[in-house]
């Protein structure tokens, strides 16, 4: 598909464009210390802290069994909602997205490179957190790894879509504040380190309906070796659909 490339050229096909773009997207994401903090250090710290210290009073069973699904959910939020959302917001603000639109790089290639960079980071996060849980706290997961991966992929998609919707629709400063605010809200209300039933009675229905609760509840059910969490997973799929549609409708490149 390189058209009429001249003899001296290496054809700049979508594949080599994709590789170059992916390399730069990954490099730039990991170059920002605040990204490394929220992607890597925060989830690991929270996992180690809450698993090591018994501050969670009424979790039945061991804290690590409750924490692993929650912290995995948090890791997806860190990468998709906060890091991808805020970095894309500033790329839009500084007209990077507009400038790239003036090159032969197709939008689909750019989106694929961004999605792959997020996915690679998230695979790394999940593996690291599971290894720490296993080696440090003797955690053992049950259930089908394929189902776990399926939930993680839907969660990753949903949080990335929420981040991109904000990045593409709001001003950069609003995305910065909004993504961080949402992250905190989800951390407290999304069944991450604190069970939803510990929350005040009247906020519980709202908390249960949030995307992070759908992810963490689905993961928890599968990893506990229970029946497939049909209700939670249906909620998650609905969130994926809604947030994906929102990103497509509201994302503006300039």
């Amino acid at each position: 598909m390189s058209g009429t490339g001249s003899k001296t050229s290496h054809a700049a096909g979508p594949w080599s464009q994709f590789r170059a773009q992916l390399r730069v997207e990954l490099l730039l994401l990991l170059r920002q210390p605040e990204n490394v903090l929220v992607i890597l250090i925060l989830p690991v710290l929270l996992l180690v802290f809450f698993a090591g210290v018994r501050v969670l009073p009424s979790v039945k069973g061991r804290p690590i069994d409750f924490l692993v699904p929650g912290i995995l959910t948090l890791a997806l939020m860190s990468t998709g909602l906060v890091t991808l959302g805020i970095s894309t917001a500033y790329q839009r603000y500084y007209r990077v997205l507009k400038r790239l639109g003036g090159t032969p790089l197709r939008r689909s290639t750019l989106v694929a490179a961004k999605a792959t960079s997020v996915l690679l980071i998230e695979v790394g996060q999940v593996l690291l957190l599971l290894v720490i849980a296993k080696l440090g706290f003797g955690w053992r997961g049950h259930g089908s790894p394929i189902l776990v991966a399926l939930v993680l992929i839907f969660g990753a998609f949903t949080f990335s879509a929420i981040g991109l919707t904000m990045a593409g629709a709001l001003r950069a400063e609003l995305t910065l504040g909004g993504a961080n605010g949402l992250y905190l809200l989800f951390l407290v209300m999304g069944g991450i380190a604190l069970p939803v039933r510990q929350l005040p009675f009247f906020v519980q229905p709202i908390a249960r309906a949030l995307p992070p609760s759908a992810v963490s509840a689905s993961l928890r059910a599968i990893l506990d070796g229970g029946a497939f969490p049909t209700a939670s997973f249906a909620l998650l799929a609905a969130w994926a659909l809604v947030s994906g549609a929102a990103a497509v409708v509201w994302f503006s490149w300039e």
Binding site: S2, G3, G5, S6, T8, S9, A11, A12, S16, Q17, R19, A20, Q21, V24, L27, L28, R31, Q32, Y90, Q91, Y94, R95, V96, K98, R99, G101, G102, T103, P104, L105, R106, E254
Partner: protein
């Protein structure tokens, strides 16, 4: 296919409005292959809207645009291989390093220029490892120029390429742009500097309120064979008596008093006027700060053509 002399850029009766406010109104203009055109005009005249329609960023409400015979919106994929551009500002990842940016952009094109040479050309070799965010305004512009050139474009769109540059960087940019034009590249740039337009452009397009009010060579815009202008700045006002004597000289067509001892004399024989005038000043011991003979400058033409209507 574009042969020599064919239009590289063709704009026909193009209009564009934002929310009912017209930004560009039935604008037509052609740029020949290998030509360098400067678009000038006051802020809000529609320069950026015009150039962004040519780049394919905005779709005209009416009219048509062809870049090398291709529609910049409908045939964007083809056009973008052939076009290099500089946005008015920004456009580059804040934390990317200079070398990484050029390398990345090189990967987009099928036949990119070797990027170390390109950095050499724009004088950024020493800053290869510097992050974009840490560059000065002029350095950012030069990197942006390098990114516009890396795909060996046939057409260059430069939106205020020398804004924020020091005089040396500006000169360097002029040389690079001129060099590309000599190599056959068609260039369209916007600028607020009449000096830049005069130095670089084969033709200057003057825009006002979304319309093209003039489009010609700088030479012809300045009035071609019209009367020459003699501009003099004195330390004091000319005594009334001398002013009358000056006005009565046959070679003087008109005198305009610009105040504070500054006068513009129009004449078909400026050498004779200058001779008489300096003689008079010597006789009366009047000092002058500046004496200039020439056609009216592009700046004056620009100001006249883009003047606000008096109310």
């Amino acid at each position: 296919m574009t042969g020599p002399g064919a239009a590289a850029i063709s704009v026909q009766e193009v209009s564009k409005a934002y929310g009912g406010t017209p930004a560009v109104s039935s604008l037509s203009l052609e740029v020949e292959a290998g030509e360098l055109v400067a678009v000038v005009g006051p802020n809000g005249a529609g320069k950026t809207t015009t150039i962004e329609m040519m780049e394919g960023y905005r779709r005209p409400d009416r009219g048509s645009i062809a870049i090398l015979g291709l529609d910049p919106v409908k045939q964007a994929t083809k056009v973008r291989q052939l076009v290099g551009l500089m946005l008015q500002e920004g456009g580059i990842y804040p934390t990317i390093k200079v070398g990484e940016a050029v390398g990345l952009f090189a990967s987009y094109y099928s036949n990119p220029e070797p990027w170390p040479q390109l950095l050499e050309l724009v004088g950024l070799t020493e800053l290869t490892q510097r992050r974009y965010r840490q560059l000065s305004g002029g350095e950012k512009q030069r990197l942006s120029l390098a990114l516009a050139l890396v795909g060996r474009p046939k057409v260059l769109f430069l939106d205020e390429p020398t804004a924020g540059m020091d005089p040396r960087a500006r000169l360097m940019t002029w040389e690079i742009v001129k060099g590309r034009q000599l190599a056959g590249v068609t260039v369209m740039l916007t600028t607020h500097s009449m000096e830049e337009a005069e130095q670089l452009a084969d033709r200057v397009a003057i825009m006002k309120e979304g319309r093209l009010v003039a489009y010609d060579t700088p030479e012809r815009l300045r009035g071609g064979a019209g009367p020459d202008l003699l501009h003099i700045k004195l330390r004091e006002r000319l005594p009334e008596e001398l002013l009358l004597r000056l006005g009565s000289l046959a070679a003087v067509d008109g005198i305009e008093d610009r105040g504070h001892g500054t006068y513009d004399l129009s004449s078909r024989d400026p050498a004779r006027v200058a001779f008489a005038l300096t003689g008079m000043l010597l006789d009366h011991g009047i000092q002058f700060n500046e004496l200039r003979i020439g056609r009216s400058s592009l700046e004056e033409v620009f100001l006249r053509l883009t003047e606000e209507e008096s109310h």
